[in-house]
Symmetry: C2
Subunit: 115 residues, 2 copies
DNA sequence: GCTACATTCAACCACATGGTTAACAGTAAC
DNA sequence: GTTACTGTTAACCATGTGGTTGAATGTAGC
């Protein structure tokens, strides 16, 4: 619909398209963590994790704030909402089992004319 | 073909991270379309659209089947479900307004979304 | 087989991504 | 200021992405 909305969805879905980043979101959802704490479970450099955090932050899915010499990573869960709302539009297509209907029509040689 | 859950989510979210592909999903949700019909609204080559369809197909969000010399593109809406379920886990964080609570508790700065 | 049409594949390009290591910068403690 | 620690930035590399054009494939009909 709106273009800025599209760009927002681009960045959110892109941020979610990496398993490491999704895992990081889970980690910080439960409890705020420092960057070091976020990075520790992952077998990659701190710099790599920092870049993942940049991606998540530019999608506004996390925020970093400084506390002393640490940076605290916090989830901004509400900003997942546009993605969930976008997906919710498709509920009707599986809830009403149109997909199953089409699978049925496709599976046999039933050719329902598109017109 | 998608193996693990994580890889499946990778491919789904990646497929959704492009506005053209999201738009294509909307287009074929309403009604099955040929590749040519899908491509017509977009200002890019048919080959480019075909590549977008490849991405959507490898995420199993669409299926193509041949009918005569045409290929019919059909939505496989149910396969959006893993993405929606992944996101649904975060509902509690905004529904219970823990996000706002944490912002309040942690923050001197009341940063409200400036967008 | 030949022609026309629908779509994909191949080769190519510019740029983004995810990772590395090493250098740099902010903060605290001495 | 120096040292130690936390985290980001820079430079680099291999691979992936989104687009192009043009050739190739598959199907229908003559």
């Amino acid at each position: 619909m709106v273009n800025s909305n599209a760009a927002r969805l681009d960045s959110i879905f892109h941020a979610l398209s990496d398993a490491t980043r999704r895992s990081i979101l889970r980690d910080v959802a439960v409890k705020d963590k420092t960057v070091g704490e976020v990075a520790r479970p992952y077998r990659m450099s701190l710099a790599a994790v920092s870049k993942h955090l940049n991606v998540l932050e530019s999608a506004e899915l996390i925020a970093r704030r400084r506390r002393g010499s640490f940076q605290i990573v916090r989830l901004k869960a509400r900003n997942l909402r546009p993605a969930e709302q976008w997906l919710a539009w498709y509920d009707k297509f599986w809830n009403r089992q149109l997909d199953a209907l089409q699978t049925y029509l496709e599976g046999d040689e039933h050719e329902h004319n598109d017109g």
